[in-house]
Symmetry: C2
Subunit: 150 residues, 2 copies
DNA sequence: ACACACCCTGTAGCCACTACAGGGTCAAGA
DNA sequence: TCTTGACCCTGTAGTGGCTACAGGGTGTGT
C-alpha cells in the first residue's frame, strides 16, 4: 500500500506519516522502483497505535516509550502504568487550571454589558489591574499539556 | 527603569519583554546613551495588561485586539465582550475534551495492574486497537486552545 | 585593573505538525 | 501519442509563545 492509502486508512495526513518516519516512530518502509514508500499491515498497526496514543494527547516522547514496550513484549510493564498515571495527572491538573481560568473569565465577562465606550468598559479596566501574587499561575505551568488554544 | 527591573516587576523574562516589543504589543521605549531600553510607568502598565491576559490564556492576537480598545477609549466596547465570550467558549470546549480524555485514560489504566509482561499488558493491547470513527476526536480539534501538554 | 552583573542584537530551538516549492511517476482519456 | 490530473518524492520554512544561546558592549564595586 502507498502512503496515500495508509493516510486514508489511519485518518492522518501524508505529511504526518513522513514526519513520524523522520522521528523514528515508524520504521522506514520498502520502496518501489519509482521510490514510492510501500507499507504493509504491520506499518498500519503501528500507526494505529501511535494515533490512538495521540488521541489521548500523549507526546511523541511518551509514545516512543510505549512503543519500546510494544517492541519488547518480554519486559515487565509497570513503567507503562507509571506513564499512564503521570499522563493522567497532567490531564487532571490541566482541567483544574482551565476551570480556574473559566471562573476568572466568567467574572471578567460580568463586568461589562458591551454598551459602554472602551474607556468605561469594566473588562478593560479589570485587565489593566496588575496581577496579584497568587492570582492565576501562568497558563500551563507545571503540567506538560498545552493551554486553551489547541 | 531598565529591562531587568521591568522583568522583575512584571514577573516575566527579559527575553519575553523584547519578544513583545518585536511583536508590536509593547511600544519600543527610549534608549539610553549606551543603547539600553528605558521604560516608564506606562510601559509597566501595558505589560501588566498583557500578562493579565496571558494568565487568562488568551493568544497574543486576542491581546492585540484588546489593546486596540485600550488605545482607543472612545470606541464602543461590544467587540471586547464578544472576544471574551469566544475565548470562554474555547476554554469550556477544551475542558470538555480533556474530561473525555481523562475518562478514556482512567478506563485504559484499569486494564493492567503493572505486574504483567508487556506482551500481556492490557494497556498496550488496548492501544493497539485501531480507533473507532467516533472514538476521540484528534486532541485540540475545533478549539484553538492547546491540548494537555502546556 | 579586574570581576561580575547587566544590557545589546541575532539566531536557533521547542512541539507536532502543516504548507509549500520544485520536481518525478503513473493511469486514464482524447 | 499526448495530455491531464492524481499521486509521489525531497527539502525547507512556518505556526505560537516563548527560551536559550553566541558573541559582543556597558556599568558598578573593590
Amino acid at each position: 500500500m502507498r502512503i496515500g492509502e495508509l493516510a486514508r486508512q489511519s485518518g492522518c495526513g501524508v505529511e504526518t506519516i513522513r514526519y513520524y518516519e523522520r522521528e523514528g516512530l515508524l520504521p522506514a518502509p520498502a520502496r518501489s522502483a519509482a521510490n514510492y514508500r510501500q507499507y504493509d499491515q504491520r506499518h498500519a498497526e503501528r500507526l494505529a497505535f501511535i494515533r490512538h496514543c495521540r488521541a489521548l494527547d500523549m507526546t511523541l516522547e511518551e509514545i516512543r516509550t510505549l512503543l519500546a514496550y510494544h517492541d519488547h513484549p518480554e519486559r515487565p510493564c509497570h513503567e507503562v502504568n507509571g506513564l499512564i498515571d503521570a499522563h493522567l495527572a497532567h490531564v487532571a491538573a490541566r482541567i483544574r487550571q482551565l476551570q480556574a481560568l473559566e471562573t476568572a473569565l466568567v467574572a471578567l465577562r460580568a463586568r461589562c454589558n458591551g454598551e459602554a465606550e472602551a474607556e468605561a468598559c469594566g473588562i478593560l479596566r479589570e485587565l489593566s489591574r496588575p496581577l496579584g501574587e497568587d492570582e492565576l499561575p501562568a497558563a500551563g505551568e507545571g503540567a506538560h499539556l498545552p493551554g486553551a488554544h489547541g
